[in-house]
C-alpha cells in the first residue's frame, strides 16, 4: 500500500466527495489558490473552481453562519477554520444554530456540514494558535466530533463526515500534516463510533486521541521492553464514542490511562475515565488516570511549551506506577 501524508489524505477525501456530490463545497479563509497555510487544499480550486472552493473575508462567524444556512437548504458545506483556536469565534453559529436546528425543528431541518479545523501544541505558536478545543464542542448535544490520528483515519473519517447529515467537527493534528501512513488507493470510509485497537495488550490500556495515539504507541513500545503489555486504543470519534471497546479493554487489563491533548480539567480524559469508572468499576485494579494538556495557556518558548503536553515518557512513568500497585493520590 502506498504511503501518503495526512495532508494529501484530507485533500483526496475532499476531492473524491466533491466529485461524487456537486452540493459539497469548501468555504473558508484562503482555501482557494492559497490552499490554506498548511497547503492541505492545494489543487482543489483548479479542479472545482472558485464557486465550490470559496475564499472568504476574515470573518469566521460570518462564513460559519453562511455554511449553516447553506446546509439547511440543500448544500453540504465543508467549513475550513484555519486554526482550532478560532472556534471561539464561531460558537454561536456552531452551538446555538447548527447543533440545535434538527432538534428544535422537531427533526424537520438538517444541517449536514463539516467544520474542519485543527489542534495540537508544540509548533511554537503560543497561546492563540496552539489549543486543542475539541472538548468544547463535544460537550454540545447535536455535534459529532472526529479526531483522526493518522492519514488513514483522516481520509476515512472525512469522507464519512461529509456524507453525515449532522454537523460534524473534525480536528486534525496540525503537527501531523506531513506524517505519512499507508492509505489504500481504493475508496473506503471509516464509520463513526468505532474505536480502533492499535495494539493489543493485557496489562494496561492506553486510550489516546488524535496526536496522543502516537504518544501512547511509543509508550507501549517502551513498556513492552519492561515486560508490560499495553493495549493502545484510538476512539477515532469522541461523539459518538465507542464505549464498548473501551470498556472491554478496561475489563481485560484492569488498568487504564486516558491521554488527550486538550486541557486536562473538565476535558475528554475526565469524561472517558468517568465512564470507565462507572461501567467497569469492579474490574479496575487501579484508578483510571487522566493525562491531558497542562491547565495553562500554551506558552511560546519551547523550554516551557514542551512541558505542557503528555509525552511517551510521562505515560510510561504513570503506567509503571499503576503496574506496581503504587498508592496513587491516596490520602
Amino acid at each position: 500500500m502506498r504511503n501518503i501524508t495526512l495532508s494529501q489524505a484530507v485533500n483526496e477525501a475532499l476531492a473524491e466527495e466533491m466529485r461524487r456530490d456537486e452540493t459539497v463545497f469548501i468555504i473558508g479563509e484562503d482555501v482557494a489558490e492559497a490552499g490554506t497555510p498548511f497547503k492541505v487544499l492545494s489543487g482543489l480550486v483548479e479542479e472545482f473552481g472558485t464557486s465550490r472552493v470559496v475564499d472568504t473575508p476574515i470573518a469566521e462567524p460570518g462564513f460559519m453562519g453562511i455554511a449553516v444556512g447553506a446546509a439547511m437548504t440543500g448544500s453540504r458545506p465543508v467549513v475550513d477554520l484555519m486554526f482550532g483556536d478560532f472556534i471561539y469565534l464561531v460558537m454561536d453559529q456552531l452551538c446555538n444554530q447548527a447543533a440545535k436546528t434538527h432538534y428544535m425543528s422537531g427533526g424537520k431541518l438538517n444541517v449536514p456540514l463539516v467544520l474542519r479545523t485543527n489542534l495540537g501544541a508544540t509548533r511554537r505558536s503560543a497561546a492563540q494558535h496552539s489549543q486543542s478545543l475539541h472538548a468544547l464542542v463535544a460537550h454540545i448535544p447535536g455535534l459529532k466530533v472526529a479526531l483522526p490520528s493518522s492519514a488513514y483515519e483522516a481520509k476515512g473519517l472525512m469522507k464519512t463526515a461529509i456524507r453525515d447529515n449532522n454537523p460534524v467537527v473534525i480536528f486534525e493534528d496540525k503537527l501531523m500534516y506531513n506524517d505519512k501512513a499507508p492509505v489504500p488507493e481504493e475508496e473506503y470510509l471509516i464509520p463513526f463510533g468505532q474505536a480502533n485497537i492499535k495494539r493489543e495488550g493485557t496489562d494496561i490500556t492506553l486510550i489516546g486521541t488524535s496526536s496522543m495515539v502516537q504518544i501512547c504507541e511509543k509508550a507501549a513500545e517502551i513498556l513492552a521492553r519492561e515486560g508490560i503489555s499495553a493495549e493502545v486504543i484510538d476512539p477515532r470519534t469522541i461523539v459518538p464514542l465507542d464505549e464498548e471497546t473501551l470498556l472491554k479493554s478496561a475489563r481485560k487489563t484492569s488498568r487504564v490511562i486516558v491521554v488527550d491533548e486538550g486541557h486536562q480539567t473538565f476535558g475528554i480524559t475526565g469524561e472517558i475515565a468517568s465512564r470507565i469508572n462507572e461501567k467497569a468499576f469492579y474490574h479496575l485494579d487501579a484508578p483510571v488516570l487522566r493525562m491531558g494538556a497542562m491547565d495553562v495557556p500554551v506558552p511560546f518558548t519551547p523550554a516551557l511549551e514542551d512541558l505542557t503536553v503528555p509525552t511517551p515518557e510521562a505515560v510510561v512513568e504513570n503506567a509503571r506506577k499503576l503496574m506496581s500497585g503504587e498508592m496513587i493520590h491516596a490520602a
Partner: protein
C-alpha cells in the same frame, strides 16, 4: 395608501393580503390570551402592529423562496403560509406542533413553506439567510431568501460580515430590517449611530426605506426587489418603519419608562396597517364592510377552533426527549 394598480384584476391578491394581516393579528390576540391565562408555557413576543411588513414581503415570495425569522416571528410564519393549528400546538408544546413542541414560540420553523425558522439569538439568522441564498446560487435555483430582523440586530457584528460576503458574491438575499423603534426596552436612536440604510450602502448594497404600516407600499417594493434578486441583482436592504403594539414580550407591561401610552395610542389609532388597508379596500370598492366583517369573523372562528384543538392536543411522549438530537440516531441516549 399607495395607489393601486390594476385594482380590479388584483382584487384577489389584495383580499389575501388583508386576510393574512388579520390572521396574524388574530393569532397574536389568541396567543396573548393564552399567555395571560397561564395556559401557554414560557412567554412570547407579539408581532401585532407590524403585520404589513411580513405580509407585504411574503406575498411577493414563492413557496420555495426562503425566509429566516426572529424571536418576534409569528407574523412571518403566518405570512409565509403556516397553519393556525400547527402553530398553536407548537406554542403550547404539543406533539402536533410544527416542531413537535421542541421549539416553541421562538423557534417555529415551517420547512414546507420555506420558513427556515425563528431564531432566539438576536441577529442569529443572518448567516443562515445568507447561506440559504448561497445555496440558490451554488445549485442554480432562482430562490430568493428574505432575512427578517429588527433594528436591534443591526448592532450585531454578524450582519456586517454576511452583508459583506453577500455583496461580494451577489447573493439573492434581501435583508429586511423591521425598525419598530425599540431594541427590547431601549429606543433605537440610543443603540444605533448614524443611518440604518447607510450601513448596507457602505457595502454597495442598494438600500430602501419604506413605510412598514402600508402593506401596498411594502408589497410593491418587495416585488421589485425579489424580481431583481432572481435576475442576479441582489442583495438588497430594506428598512421598514413600523411599530410593535405590545411590549418586548407579553410580560413587558409597564413600559412607560421607555415609551408613552400616547405614542402607542397614536400608532394604533392613526397608523394601524389593518385599519388603513381595510378602509382603502372599501373606498376602492374591492370589498364591502359586510364582506370584511364576515372575513374577520371567519378568521376569529378559525383561530378559536385551532386554540381549542391545541389545548386538547397531546404532548409528545417522554421518549421523544432524546429524539432528533442526531438525524441518524433514533434515541441519542439509548
Amino acid at each position: 395608501m399607495s395607489p393601486a394598480k390594476n385594482k380590479k384584476s388584483n382584487a384577489e391578491d389584495y383580499l389575501r393580503m388583508y386576510r393574512q394581516m388579520v390572521r396574524i393579528r388574530t393569532f397574536e390576540d389568541n396567543a396573548n390570551q393564552l399567555y395571560l391565562s397561564a395556559k401557554m408555557p414560557g412567554l412570547t413576543h407579539m408581532y401585532s402592529g407590524e403585520e404589513a411588513v411580513a405580509v407585504g414581503i411574503c406575498e411577493a415570495l414563492k413557496v420555495t423562496d426562503k425566509i429566516t425569522s426572529t424571536h418576534r416571528g409569528h407574523g412571518h410564519c403566518v405570512a409565509k403560509g403556516a397553519e393556525f393549528k400547527e402553530m398553536f400546538c407548537e406554542l403550547l408544546g404539543k406533539e402536533e406542533g410544527y416542531c413537535r413542541g421542541k421549539g416553541g414560540s421562538m423557534h417555529i420553523a415551517d420547512q414546507s413553506n420555506g420558513n427556515l425558522g425563528a431564531n432566539a439569538i438576536v441577529g442569529g439568522s443572518m448567516g443562515i439567510a445568507t447561506g440559504s441564498a448561497f445555496t440558490a446560487k451554488l445549485l442554480g435555483t432562482d430562490d430568493v431568501t428574505v432575512c427578517f430582523f429588527g433594528d436591534g440586530a443591526t448592532a450585531q457584528g454578524l450582519m456586517y460580515e454576511v452583508m459583506n460576503m453577500a455583496a461580494l458574491w451577489k447573493l439573492p438575499v434581501i435583508y429586511a430590517c423591521e425598525n419598530n423603534g425599540y431594541s427590547e426596552y431601549t429606543k433605537t436612536e440610543e443603540i444605533a449611530a448614524g443611518s440604518i440604510t447607510a450601513r448596507a450602502e457602505a457595502f454597495g448594497i442598494e438600500a430602501h426605506q419604506v413605510d412598514g404600516q402600508d402593506v401596498l407600499a411594502v408589497n410593491t417594493l418587495a416585488q421589485k426587489l425579489v424580481d431583481r434578486c432572481r435576475k442576479g441583482e441582489g442583495p438588497f436592504f430594506v428598512e421598514l418603519m413600523t411599530y410593535r403594539y405590545h411590549g418586548h414580550h407579553v410580560g413587558d407591561i409597564n413600559r412607560e419608562y421607555y415609551r408613552s401610552k400616547e405614542e402607542e395610542q397614536d400608532w394604533k389609532q392613526n397608523r394601524d396597517p389593518i385599519i388603513r388597508f381595510r378602509s382603502w379596500l372599501v373606498s376602492e370598492g374591492i370589498a364591502t364592510e359586510d364582506e370584511i366583517e364576515a372575513l374577520n369573523a371567519e378568521i376569529k372562528d378559525d383561530a378559536a377552533g385551532a386554540v381549542e384543538y391545541a389545548l386538547n392536543a397531546k404532548y409528545p411522549d417522554a421518549s421523544e426527549v432524546d429524539m432528533h438530537v442526531f438525524t441518524d440516531v433514533e434515541h441519542a441516549l439509548a
